[in-house]
Amino acid sequence: MNQSSVAVASAPAVAAPSAVAVSLRQVNKSFGSGNTYLPVLKDINLEVRRGELLLLVGPSGCGKTTLLSVMAGILDVDQGVVDVFGIRVDQLSQSRKTRFRQENIGFIFQQFNLIPTLTATENVAVPLIIAGKPYQAALEQARHYLTLVGLGERLEHFPTQLSGGQQQRVAIARALVAEPRLVVCDEPTAALDSATGQLVMEMFREVALSPERAIVIVTHDNRIFPYGDRIAEMLDGRIVDVHDNPNRMR
């Protein structure tokens, strides 16, 4: 066997990047046992594509947030496959899941969850500091992202000194600062008034969407439906419909 044939034989197969960012197959999740047994996700099959913003909608208690937690690797499934950018999240140990979240997931919460004793810059820098980036470099990168979301003049403000919309923009900067491939958002406009919610979503779509990134938003707020590329509807723990958004904002 000559040298070149050895090289060819041992070279890993190079696949074209998949268009699918997140793939959930036959995912089941329940809470409790015995009399308190409650199935929350039932045979979920869902794909989220790279470069898209998917809205996950449905009535309260239908399992939207649980599904979001499963995708983000903060909740284990009972059965099924959770594949995020080719990583089988359902097979990772807890420590690897922690690392997986550090490197791949950005979070935006309904109540922002900004640490009140940290400035906007420090709050945004937190994911980088967690990932081990030097403190000053993390702050520098955080300032850049805060400027991107229009808060260049509020770098040293504490959360209590910011409006709700500004706080959510800080949260968006925090979710994006580590350049995650998947951003999960739980009711990002629920704590905002209508006009602020729309402004935040416009800014979010502009700053966050990229060809290599997928965004999943759980929402009840039909005013932000135009910002989604596709809409997945849930009912009683099942995905009942996934369709392109006919009213998508161009």
Binding site: S69, A72, I74, T98, E103, F107, F109, N113, P116
Partner: protein
């Protein structure tokens, strides 16, 4: 992450000050109670320190310096003949009653020194001359508790057992446990101030010859005379151990210190727990964003250690200030802070802080990151 932990701690001023204040009070009470204990016990041995002899020879059954157990005159001669003894002199220490000019009586600690050598004399005189102690009726008064004798001056007189005593000097003598004034005189005169008894000498002070250690001479004295002998430190501990065994001081102060420990842990633990509860959603967010449980535990331990260190500094400072102010001038506060007390209180403080943070730690360890999505 330690910066984030510290900012979370110090940014919440009210909780932070409560925690530091709680630790400071606990440390303050630790230092105050511990120093009072050490001060009181230390005072029991002040008569030994005030005499300052290298070797004390005493009756075998003596338990404490304040106890009178007489020795025979021949015991002094026997001690002088022991190998390695450089010199040996008699000493008399006894509580006697002084009749003051106004007719009142006051108990004093009468110290009778060997007239020829004045071994055991007070190290510093504030007034008068030590040589005058050999003049008729001469006594030197210790400054501590002198007010009980009506603040006598050189030349003043009073009566002891119907005999005249004349003040020829004022000595700088520390306050002791019984808080009685000191009166120094010669051994020969001291035995005249008390009722006649067969045995009037109760201590023999000695020193080792060159080439002999105190330990060797003490062993020789014990073997040759059957009497007990101690170096100064041994005599101090004989007395201090007696008071620790036979008084309620250790138990009473021990109970106070135990209560301080328990109350301190309850207050600090409760505050830490409230702090953890309040920050639970932020810890959850940090976990979701990829902070490991042990990273968060490290943050909490760092917070508790910082609170402990700052509280310890303030508490020790406050306790020391109290001791300094209480011990000034005519202050009677028994207060002594040995370095061992600082070490013990430091360990106790850190223990309180770390134990108190355990509640928060177990909560953070059990915290699911999914908590962040619960509105």
């Amino acid at each position: 992450m330690w910066r984030i932990g510290l900012k979370m701690l110090m940014g919440d001023r009210a909780k932070y000050l409560t925690l530091v204040g709680g630790v400071s009070v606990v440390v303050f009470l630790f230092i105050q109670q511990g120093s009072v204990f050490c001060g009181l016990i230390g005072r029991t041995a002040k008569p030994v320190e005030a005499i300052g002899a290298p070797i004390w020879v005493v009756d075998r059954n003596l338990q404490v310096v304040d106890e009178f157990r007489g020795l025979l005159d021949t015991d002094l001669l026997r001690v002088r003949s022991v190998e390695g003894v450089k010199w040996a002199v008699p000493l008399f220490i006894r509580q006697v009653q002084v009749r003051l000019a106004d007719g009142r009586f006051q108990a004093v600690r009468l110290v009778g020194l060997d007239g020829a050598t004045l071994v055991g004399r007070p190290p510093r005189l504030l007034a008068g001359r030590i040589e005058d102690l050999n003049t008729p009726d001469a006594v030197i008064v210790g400054r501590a508790e002198m007010e009980r004798l009506g603040n006598p001056k050189v030349g003043d007189t009073f009566e002891i057992n119907d005999r005249r005593a004349r003040v020829v000097g004022i000595a700088d003598v520390p306050r002791d446990f019984l808080s009685n004034p000191y009166l120094y005189t010669t051994f020969e005169r001291a035995v005249q101030y008390v009722p006649r008894e067969r045995k009037l000498m109760n201590y023999i002070l000695a020193a080792p010859q060159e080439g002999y250690t105190s330990e060797q001479v003490i062993a020789n004295i014990r073997q040759a005379t059957g009497l007990a002998a101690y170096d100064e430190d041994g005599m101090r501990w004989l007395t201090m151990n007696y008071y620790m065994r036979n008084t309620g001081i250790p138990v009473n102060i021990g109970i106070s210190v135990a209560l301080v420990f328990l109350v301190g842990m309850a207050v600090i633990g409760q505050t830490f727990y409230a702090f953890a509860l309040q920050n639970e959603k932020y810890f959850g967010a940090l976990k979701a964003m990829g902070a490991g449980s042990w990273t968060l535990v490290g943050m909490i331990v760092l917070q508790s250690v910082i609170v402990g260190l700052i509280g310890y500094g303030i508490g020790v400072g406050g306790g020391s200030l109290l001791g300094y102010l209480g011990g000034q001038g005519k202050g009677k506060l028994a207060f002594y802070t040995p370095y061992q007390l600082l070490v013990i209180s430091f360990i106790a403080t850190m223990l309180i802080c770390v134990l108190s943070s355990l509640l928060s730690i177990q909560r953070v360890l059990r915290l699911e990151p999914a908590v962040v999505f619960r509105g």
